[in-house]
């Protein structure tokens, strides 16, 4: 039986039915969760070159139910600074939020100077990076968010470098709020977005966003994958206030990182030193616990 979608619901969805995104796309689920958290808010999106802007579809239609400004690849924080500054000059009751919705290429790589500058100026906007750990829209090339050992079309033998610590970079800017989000933890997702709405200044989120096409994974397993990433400590859920006050939102449950790796063919066909991965993951969790004022496990 088809569940009828009322016209009201269609209009209220941030990401409307009928978009052409891939099955199992973590970014799409992220948009859905974002839309639900912002149901009663006025906001607009600024989206640089990435799957997020292709999501809108072809002119004159759009899959988004809020105003969207397409930005050049490196520019979403600059465009958004302009949009937000005008909103702030024209307060008329209900706040109008400005949200950058950008991929990891636009965040960790080409846009990092622009991002750093907007964070340093403490612009009154929310920046959300949906991190699929590759240039997904161009067919899966490595970015500086691609994890160690992942095969991409430009790292056919697996990436030899590790991923940048983008939350660490944002914390070093002492932004009022930076946090990670998992689409496998929708309550935590919603609570943190709602928290961010009450904070002024620059707010940064990192969403772990599976890309079945690029990761060579089963679309139906996307949520399971990011859940494994949280449970194994591969993708810790935490928040940082003012660059100094750390809070852990979920403790790993002892799941072995191996489970996360073996489900993804981007890591297949090469020996991965899982012991080193376990040591690195454990060390990072210990560091986060220490920063959060918690004891070692």
């Amino acid at each position: 039986m088809n569940a009828a979608i009322s016209e009201d619901v269609k209009a209220d969805c941030l990401l409307r039915p009928g978009n052409t995104n891939c099955g199992g796309c973590g970014m799409s689920t992220g948009l859905t969760l974002l839309g639900r958290a912002l149901e009663n808010e006025d906001y607009s999106l600024v989206i640089p070159a990435c799957c997020g802007i292709v999501t809108a579809g072809a002119f004159p239609t759009t899959a988004y139910s809020v105003p969207v400004t397409a930005a050049t690849f490196a520019s979403s924080p600059a465009f958004a600074s302009g949009v937000a500054a005008v909103n702030d000059l024209n307060p008329d009751g209900k706040p109008k939020h400005v949200i950058c919705w950008a991929g990891d290429g636009g965040t960790y790589d080409i846009g990092i100077a622009t991002l750093s500058a907007a964070a340093e100026r403490n612009e009154n906007l929310i920046y959300i990076c949906y991190d699929n750990e590759i240039y997904g829209n161009t067919g899966g090339q490595r970015s500086s968010a691609t994890p160690f050992a992942a095969k991409t079309t430009t790292t056919p033998g697996g990436k030899i470098e590790s991923k940048k610590d983008i939350i660490g970079i944002m914390a070093a800017h002492r932004v009022p709020y930076a946090a990670t989000l998992s689409i496998a933890h929708p309550e935590d997702f919603r609570a943190k977005i709602e928290k961010a709405l009450k904070i002024e200044g620059f707010r940064f989120f990192l969403i772990h966003a599976p890309c079945p096409t690029g990761w060579k994974t089963e679309p139906a397993e996307s949520i399971e994958l990011v859940s494994l990433a949280v449970r194994s400590g591969m993708f810790p859920l935490y928040e940082v206030f003012d660059g100094t006050d750390y809070r852990l939102n979920a403790e790993p449950d002892g799941t072995d990182p191996e489970k996360y790796y073996t489900k993804q063919r981007r890591f297949s066909g090469q020996p991965i030193d899982l012991d080193s991965v376990r040591v690195a993951v454990g060390a990072r969790m210990d560091r986060l616990r220490r920063l959060a004022g918690l004891g070692r496990h």
């Binding site: 006025d42 607009s44 600024v46 802007i53 292709v54 809108a56 579809g57 072809a58 002119f59 004159p60 759009t62 988004y64 139910s65 809020v66 105003p67 969207v68 400004t69 397409a70 930005a71 050049t72 490196a74 520019s75 924080p77 600059a78 465009f79 958004a80 600074s81 302009g82 949009v83 937000a84 500054a85 005008v86 909103n87 702030d88 000059l89 024209n90 109008k96 100077a113 622009t114 750093s116 500058a117 100026r121």
Partner: protein, 390 residues
């Protein structure tokens, strides 16, 4: 009369600031700013201005300076910035977006030689690289012209028949850093001259659209044709706003093209920017010696004033074009455009002269050499480089 000493940079900074302030009863004004010699003084002026409803955002690059202006303009504010040389080159991608999004952003462009080698002197090659970017381009010849053209630029850019960004260009140092006694507009005059800035396609939650998403070739073709329609309105709209300028300020602001002693001329020389002032003196000098020469100053490079150039040149045999810019593999950029404008209109001899490329002074003697060269010519040749030390 409010006569005071001001550099071209101060003139641009003042006019941009009071134009921004004039929008205080609407959505306000925003300027994304970034320094580069020789325009820095402009953004410093803007940064000091006490806007009652405005914000100056000091960003980390020219690319972001224009990015901020784009976001602000799309959200309904009056937006402006300034740049120069390699800064303009770095900004290029977003310069294009401003026009493609039909945003009436005004930018002062101080024409400085592109590097390397690093050279801060005047050359128009920086702003001319945007000739295909759907910006209106106005090249000023003096500090007063910068002050007035900057205000005119906002009026023109925001006219609903146009809605295109406007670049106000001036020669590095010769205008940007040289003080002249000029008349600067008052806030009250700017308020009268500039109506509230209205962006018909501003961001609106009641009408959520995606600005700048994907478009297929047919829609993109329509977009380019719309741009073409809009930029073709500029000559007539510019004249209306020049007339209005005269009413409000009691002085004339120069138009797209200025002809001088062309009526009975058998040779016409064409230049832009400050070279046209030197050229004017040489024309007077030659006229005293009985040579029937005249000159045209082109202020508006985009849209190119093809019909007006053709009309003014219809009775002359020989035309000399002085370019302070160089496009490798062809020659001066104004020269190319003038040849194209006169194509099929009577077989003029059009000779190009590369004068002051890389910032060298174009002194009266250099212009006299150009005049003498054209006089003895029976056919046009390759562009002639001037200012080479033998």
């Amino acid at each position: 009369m409010n006569m005071q000493l001001a550099t071209g940079n101060q003139a641009a900074g003042h006019s941009m600031s009071i134009a921004g302030e004039a929008n205080r009863h609407a959505r306000g004004s925003i300027s994304g700013i970034y320094p580069i010699t020789p325009q820095t003084e402009i953004v410093e002026y803007v940064a000091k201005f006490p806007f009652s409803k405005g914000r100056v955002i000091p960003v980390e690059s020219e690319h972001s300076a224009m990015g901020v202006c784009i976001g602000a303009s799309l959200n309904g504010a009056r937006a402006f910035t300034a740049s120069s040389s390699n800064g303009l080159a770095y900004m290029a991608e977003n310069v294009m977006v401003a026009a493609f999004y039909r945003l009436p952003i005004v930018m002062a462009a101080v024409n400085r030689t592109l590097g390397p080698p690093w050279n801060i002197w005047a050359d128009q090659g920086d702003s001319l690289m945007f000739r295909d970017f759907a910006w209106v381009q106005l090249y000023c010849d003096s500090n007063q012209d910068v002050a007035d053209t900057t205000l005119l630029a906002f009026r023109l850019a925001e006219d609903p028949r146009v809605l295109l960004p406007v670049m106000v260009c001036m020669d590095a140092f010769i205008v940007s850093h040289t003080s002249m006694e000029i008349e600067l507009a008052s806030q009250e005059q700017a308020d009268r001259y500039l109506p509230p800035c209205e962006i018909p396609h501003h961001l609106d939650p009641a009408h959520p659209v995606t600005v700048g998403g994907m478009a297929f070739p047919q829609e993109t073709l329509t977009h380019r044709m719309d741009l073409d329609q809009a930029i073709r309105q500029v000559p007539a709209v510019l004249e209306e706003h020049r007339a209005h300028f005269n009413e409000v300020f009691g002085r004339e602001v120069s138009g797209a093209v200025s002809a001088y002693r062309t009526e009975d001329a058998d040779q016409i020389f064409i230049a832009s920017g400050t070279i046209s002032l030197t050229l004017k003196d040489v024309v007077d000098e030659r006229r005293q010696k009985g040579e029937k020469i005249g000159m045209i100053r082109i202020k508006m490079f985009r849209p190119f004033p093809t019909a007006e150039i053709a009309r003014l040149c219809r009775n002359v045999e020989k035309i000399g074009v002085l370019d302070r810019n160089y496009s490798a593999g062809t020659g001066g950029i104004f020269w190319q455009e003038i040849r194209a404008a006169l194509q099929g209109r009577g077989g003029h001899l059009v000779q190009g002269y590369l004068t002051g490329v890389g910032g060298g002074d174009v002194v009266p003697d250099a212009v006299r050499e150009v005049v003498a060269d054209l006089k003895q010519r029976t056919e046009a040749g390759d562009p002639v480089w001037k200012g080479i030390d033998q």
